[in-house]
C-alpha cells in the first residue's frame, strides 16, 4: 500500500486535462507507443469532439519513482463540466492527491477554483501544473502569481509542462510519487468501497468503478450496496489496464472494478458504498447524495412514427446513465414523447446529441424548465415540472423554486455589466471579492430557472469570453409562480403552456405571441393569439386574414411547376395541427419552444 498513489487530474474546461492524462499514460507505458487513438480516456466520440469528459474513468499505471522503487499509480479521470460537480467530488474522494491543471494562457478560472476547493475539502495533496507552455507569447509569471494569490498555493511547487511536447511530464510523475501520500486503510477491516462511477456492459451488466477504502473483495463474495441494501454475488474484480485485468482480489488503497449480478447502473449510484453482505461495515462512507434532476425538457420524435425508437434509445442510454430520468407524456401538437430530467443543461444537450447521433433519431427537444415545489392548502407538497400538472391556483398555499449559488470569475471591468445581468435575473445576495488585482469573483444566489435559459451565453458575451462560471445547488425558496397559457382564437394550446415567475410572464408571453404571429400562416379569417394567466390577457397579437393567395401567371409552361408547388403545400398541411379552425404548423411549435433563439 506504501507504493500506491491514487490521484486525479482536475482543471477548468479546455485547460488540457485529458491531453495531460493521455501524455502521462503514454509516458508510463499504459498506452503502447503505437496506439494512435488520441485521448484514450474519452472513449465516446462526443467526448473527444467536445473536449469534455462525460463519464469518469480510471487507469492503473506502473512507474519507477525517483527512489528507484516500482509504484502503482491510479489515475481517476473526472467529468469536466459544472453539471457533474457531484460526480467530480466522488471521484476525488477516491484519491489522495490531485493534479490541478492550469492553462498557461488562460490562467486561473472559475472551475479551477471550484475544483481546487473540492480537493481541499477532501484533504487532497494538490500539485499545480501549468500546461501548454509551448504556446507563444505567454506570461508564465502572471499564472504563477495567480497560483499564489488566487489559489493560495506555493508557486514554487508548480510544475511547468506541455502535454503536447512532453516537456515537464517526468517532473509531474515524480511529484505524484513524492508528494501524494500513500492510501491509508486496513485490509483486515470489513469492506468499504466507494463507487465513483459505473458503466454498463451489454454482456456483463454494471461494471462498478470503486476505490477500496477498507477491507478487500474477491470473486465469490456477496456484496451489499449500502443505500439500498441490494445484494449480489461478485463475479469478477480487477484493475484498469489498457483493458480490464481480472485480479484475485482488490484491497484497501486500490482502485478497480467489480462485476456482479447487478445489471443496471442505477442500482450502484455514484458516491454509494459497497460492503460485504456477510461482514458488513458499521456505516457507509460519507458524502453520498442521491443525484436528482434539476432541469427538465420534453423530447419528441420529429416524425411521430419514431416514438418506439425513441423509447428504446432512452432505455439504452439510461442503462449507462443513472441520472437520466424520463416519463412518457403526450401533447396534442407534438404527439407522444418523454418528459426527461437532467442534472443540468450540458447533460441535457449531451443526451440529445447522443440520442440523435448514436440512435439516428430526429428529435424535437423543448426549452428546458425547472421544477417547482408547491404546497397545497391542505398541506400536501408536490414537485411539479410539467404545466399540465399545475393545480388550481385557488388550492395553492405557496410555491417555491430552486436557487443556485453561482460563482463567476472575470476581469473587473465587466463586473458592473454582469452584476446587472444577475439582478435582471432576480439574483440576490450579490457579493464579490478580488481574487487578484484586476480579477473578481462574483457570487450570487439566483433562481435556477433564470440560469437555464441563456444566462451562460449572456455572461460570455458580456465578458467577451473572459467570464467563467461555476455553480452549486442551494435550496428551494419561495417564488411567485404563475401558469402562462397561450390561446389561439380563444382556445388554449396545451403544448405552449408554461410555469414561470410572475415577473417573467408578460415578457415571455409577448415574445411567444410575436413568434407565433410570424409562424402561423394567414388564414381566410383573423386569428387572435393571446397570452393569458388564468382569465387575464397579458399579451396579444393578431394574424390578419389573407385576401389574396394566387399566382399571377400560370401558362402552359407553368402548370407542372405550379401543381407540384401545391402538392408540396398539401404535404406541409399534414404537418399542421388544428386548434379550432386554426392550423398551426409544427415548425411554429419548434420556433416557440426550442432552446436557442436564432
Amino acid at each position: 500500500m506504501e507504493r500506491i498513489r491514487n490521484f486525479s487530474i482536475i482543471a477548468h474546461i479546455d485547460h488540457g486535462k485529458t491531453s495531460l492524462s493521455d501524455c502521462i499514460l503514454r509516458r508510463t507505458g499504459a498506452i503502447p507507443p503505437r496506439e494512435t487513438r488520441a485521448l484514450l480516456l474519452d472513449s465516446m466520440d462526443l467526448e473527444r469532439e467536445r473536449g469534455i469528459t462525460i463519464k469518469s474513468s480510471a487507469v492503473t499505471m506502473d512507474h519507477v519513482g525517483p527512489d528507484g522503487e516500482k509504484y502503482l499509480l491510479n489515475l481517476i479521470d473526472t467529468p469536466g463540466h459544472v453539471d457533474f460537480s457531484y460526480e467530480v467530488s466522488r471521484a476525488l474522494a477516491g484519491c489522495e492527491g490531485a493534479v490541478l491543471v492550469i492553462d498557461a494562457s488562460q490562467g486561473v478560472q472559475a472551475q479551477t477554483l471550484a475544483n481546487m476547493y473540492k480537493a481541499m475539502e477532501l484533504d487532497l495533496e494538490i500539485i499545480p501544473v501549468v500546461n501548454k507552455i509551448d504556446l507563444p507569447n505567454l506570461d508564465i509569471d502572471r499564472v504563477l502569481r495567480q497560483i499564489k494569490e488566487e489559489l493560495g498555493l506555493d508557486p514554487a511547487g508548480a510544475i511547468l509542462c506541455s502535454a503536447k511536447t512532453g516537456a515537464g511530464i517526468d517532473q509531474v510523475l515524480d511529484a505524484i510519487v513524492t508528494r501524494v501520500p500513500p492510501p491509508r486503510g486496513r485490509v483486515e477491516n470489513p469492506l468499504k468501497a466507494l463507487i465513483f462511477d459505473s458503466h454498463y456492459d451489454p454482456y456483463r451488466g454494471a461494471i462498478v468503478y470503486v476505490r477500496v477504502v477498507e477491507g478487500s473483495v474477491r470473486a465469490g463474495d456477496r456484496l451489499r450496496v449500502m443505500s439500498t441494501g441490494r445484494t449480489a454475488l461478485v463475479e469478477e474484480v480487477g484493475h484498469f489496464r489498457l483493458k480490464n485485468r481480472p485480479m484475485a482480489r482488490i484491497s484497501a488503497g486500490e482502485v478497480g472494478y467489480i462485476i456482479s449480478g447487478i445489471k443496471a447502473v442505477g442500482e450502484t449510484p455514484i458516491g454509494d458504498t459497497i460492503t460485504s453482505d456477510e461482514q458488513p461495515a458499521d456505516g457507509p462512507l460519507p458524502g453520498f447524495v442521491e443525484a436528482k434532476p434539476v432541469v427538465f425538457s420534453s423530447v419528441y420524435p420529429v416524425n411521430t412514427d419514431d416514438f418506439e425508437e425513441l423509447s428504446d434509445a432512452l432505455a439504452k442510454l439510461a442503462l449507462n446513465d443513472a441520472s437520466l430520468h424520463y416519463q412518457k407524456e403526450s401533447s396534442s401538437a407534438l404527439g407522444t414523447g418523454y418528459r426527461v430530467g437532467f442534472l443540468g443543461l450540458l447533460h441535457a444537450e449531451i443526451t440529445q446529441e447522443r440520442l440523435e447521433r448514436e440512435y439516428n433519431l430526429s428529435l424535437f427537444v423543448t426549452a428546458p424548465s425547472v421544477q417547482y415545489r408547491i404546497t397545497m392548502k391542505g398541506g400536501e407538497v408536490r414537485l411539479i415540472d410539467n404545466p399540465a400538472h399545475y393545480p388550481d391556483p385557488g388550492e395553492i398555499a405557496g410555491a417555491e423554486e430552486l436557487y443556485i449559488k453561482a460563482s463567476m470569475i472575470m476581469p473587473d471591468e465587466y463586473l458592473g455589466a454582469v452584476m446587472k445581468l444577475c439582478m435582471d435575473r432576480r439574483g440576490t445576495n450579490l457579493r464579490h471579492s478580488y481574487v487578484s488585482p484586476g480579477r473578481v469573483d462574483l457570487m450570487v444566489e439566483i433562481p435556477l430557472a433564470e440560469v437555464i435559459f441563456d444566462f451562460y451565453d449572456c455572461l460570455k458575451s458580456l465578458t467577451r469570453g473572459y467570464g467563467s462560471f461555476d455553480y452549486e445547488i442551494l435550496e428551494f425558496r419561495p417564488g411567485q409562480l404563475v401558469k402562462l397559457d397561450i390561446k389561439v382564437n380563444g382556445e388554449a394550446v396545451d403544448t405552449l403552456s408554461m410555469l414561470l415567475h410572475r415577473d417573467r410572464a408578460e415578457g415571455r408571453a409577448r415574445a411567444i405571441c410575436l413568434k407565433l404571429k410570424e409562424e402561423i400562416p394567414r388564414h381566410q379569417f383573423r386569428i387572435a393569439i393571446q397570452g393569458a394567466i388564468g382569465g387575464k390577457i397579458i399579451a396579444r397579437e393578431t394574424v390578419s386574414a389573407v385576401r389574396k393567395d394566387v399566382t399571377a401567371k400560370c401558362y402552359g409552361g407553368d402548370i407542372t411547376r405550379k401543381r407540384k408547388l401545391l402538392e408540396k403545400q398539401k404535404e406541409g398541411k399534414k404537418r399542421m395541427r388544428s386548434f379550432g379552425q386554426v392550423n398551426i404548423p409544427q415548425k411554429a411549435f419548434f420556433a416557440v419552444l426550442r432552446r436557442h433563439e436564432e
Partner: protein, 400 residues
C-alpha cells in the same frame, strides 16, 4: 398536329417558344438567350419545322408564338415559321394566331408584314406607361415607343393585347390605377395585368435577397399591398369596360379573350415546340405533360441530326389531373368543369369536391352554377372575385 419527332395525339392548339431576347429583363424567368445572330435564328426556324414533323394534323384553332421575344425573328422568319405550320395543318381564317411583340423590336411595317404572314393577334409587352418603371424593370423600350406600337397594331386591324406589371417597389395603387386608365385609353381590347413576382433565378430576385429586403422564398414582398393592387386592378378595369375572365386577364368583349390561353386553362391538349416548350398530350397512354429542356444548343443539335430534342415528361394520376383542373378552373370565370373531372377522375372524387365547394359557398368564395336549376350533372364550381384572389388556397382545400 401530329409529329413523329416527339409523338403525341393530334391537338388543335400549337405553341412555339422563341427563345431570343435583345436583353433579359430583370424580373423574367422565361427561357431565352441574349444577342442571337441571324444564322442562329435561321437554324432555329428550320429546326422548328423539323420538330413539327411531316405528318399532317387536324385544323388548328390557335397558334401562339411566345418567348422570349418572337418579334425579334423579323417578319420574314415569322412567315417561314407559319408556312411550316400551314404545310402540316390547315390554318383557317378563324384560327387565332398570336405573336408576342416587344415594342422596340418591331415597327408598323414589320407588323404589317407579320399580318400578311398570317398573324392576326399581337400581345405587346408594354409592362408600364411610365419610363422610370420601364427602366427599373430592365425593359429596352420607353413609354412613347409602347404607345406607338399599340397604335400601329390597332391601325392595322390586328387584335391587340398589352401586358402590364404592377406592384413595383414604391408604386402607389393610385398611380397604378392611372396606368390602367391610360391603357384603356389607348384602345387595346385585351390587357394582361400581372403582379410583379420575385421569381427565383432572376436578377431581381437575387438583388432583393442579397439586399435582405425579402425573405428567402418570399415570392411577394408586400403581400398586403398585393391584395390592394389585385382588387384595384379588377375593380378599375371593370369600370373601364373590361371583364376579368382570369386572375390576370381582361377582355373588352368575349371574342377578345385569348382563346389560346383559355384552351390551356380549360385543360385542353396543346402541342409545344421549341426549347423549353411544354405540351399536354392526351392519348391511349393517358394524360401526359412533356417539356423540352431549356437548352437551345442541345435542342438545335438534336433536331439537326434527325433526333428528338431532349425532353422530360410525366404521366398524370387521376389525383393530379383533378388538382390541375381545380387549380386552373378556380383561376377562370368559367370555373371548374365538373363533368370533365367526373370523366377523368371518377364520381367519388367529384362528389367529395362538390361537398367541400358547397361549404365554400357560404363564405362567398365560390358559386355552384348549373345549366339549369337542379341539373347536377352540368354544375360548375365558379369562383367569385374573392375566390379568384384565393385560387391557390382554395385549390388546396378542395383537393385535400
Amino acid at each position: 398536329m401530329n409529329a413523329p419527332a416527339s409523338g403525341g395525339a393530334p391537338t388543335s392548339h400549337l405553341y412555339i417558344h422563341v427563345p431570343f431576347c435583345v436583353r433579359k429583363c430583370r424580373y423574367c424567368a422565361f427561357y431565352s438567350v441574349e444577342a442571337a445572330d441571324e444564322g442562329l435564328m435561321d437554324r432555329f426556324v428550320t429546326c422548328v419545322a423539323t420538330e413539327l414533323g411531316s405528318r399532317r394534323g387536324p385544323a388548328l384553332e390557335t397558334v401562339y408564338l411566345g418567348g422570349g421575344t418572337p418579334s425579334l425573328l423579323g417578319a420574314a422568319r415569322i412567315a417561314r415559321l407559319l408556312d411550316a405550320v400551314r404545310e402540316r395543318s390547315p390554318v383557317s381564317s378563324t384560327c387565332e394566331v398570336t405573336l408576342e411583340v416587344n415594342p422596340e423590336t418591331i415597327d408598323r411595317a414589320g407588323l404589317q408584314a407579320c399580318r400578311s404572314a398570317g398573324v392576326n393577334r399581337v400581345s405587346i409587352g408594354i409592362q408600364s406607361f411610365v419610363d422610370s418603371n420601364l427602366e427599373w424593370l430592365g425593359r429596352i423600350h420607353d413609354a412613347h415607343r409602347g404607345r406607338q406600337a399599340v397604335e400601329d397594331s390597332l391601325s392595322l386591324g390586328l387584335r391587340t393585347s398589352i401586358d402590364l406589371i404592377y406592384g413595383l417597389p414604391g408604386q402607389s395603387v393610385r398611380a397604378w390605377e392611372e396606368e390602367l386608365v391610360n391603357a384603356s385609353g389607348c384602345g387595346t381590347d385585351h390587357i394582361s395585368a400581372y403582379e410583379l413576382t420575385w421569381e427565383p433565378g432572376t436578377p431581381l430576385y437575387r438583388e432583393r435577397v442579397q439586399e435582405g429586403r425579402a425573405t428567402v422564398g418570399g415570392r411577394i414582398v408586400r403581400r398586403s399591398m398585393g391584395e390592394r393592387f389585385f382588387f384595384a386592378t379588377h375593380e378599375t378595369l371593370e369600370r373601364l369596360g373590361f371583364e376579368g375572365y382570369e386572375v390576370s386577364s381582361f377582355a373588352r368583349r368575349t371574342q377578345d379573350r385569348s382563346r389560346h390561353n383559355l384552351a390551356t386553362w380549360a385543360h385542353r391538349p396543346y402541342r409545344g415546340v421549341g426549347p423549353a416548350a411544354h405540351s399536354y398530350v392526351v392519348d391511349g397512354s393517358g394524360h401526359r405533360r412533356t417539356w423540352n429542356r431549356p437548352e437551345l444548343a442541345a435542342w438545335l443539335e438534336a433536331l439537326e441530326r434527325g433526333a428528338r430534342p431532349p425532353a422530360d415528361s410525366e404521366l398524370l394520376s387521376p389525383e393530379q389531373l383533378l388538382m390541375e383542373r381545380v387549380m386552373l378552373g378556380l383561376r377562370c370565370r368559367e370555373g371548374i368543369d365538373l363533368e370533365a373531372c367526373r370523366a377523368e377522375c371518377g364520381e367519388t372524387a367529384v362528389e367529395r369536391l362538390l361537398e367541400r365547394a358547397s361549404a365554400m359557398c357560404a363564405a362567398g368564395a365560390v358559386e355552384l352554377r348549373g345549366r339549369s336549376p337542379g341539373d347536377r350533372a352540368s354544375v360548375r364550381v365558379v369562383p367569385t372575385l374573392k375566390g379568384m384572389a384565393l385560387a391557390d388556397r382554395l385549390a388546396l382545400e378542395l383537393c385535400d
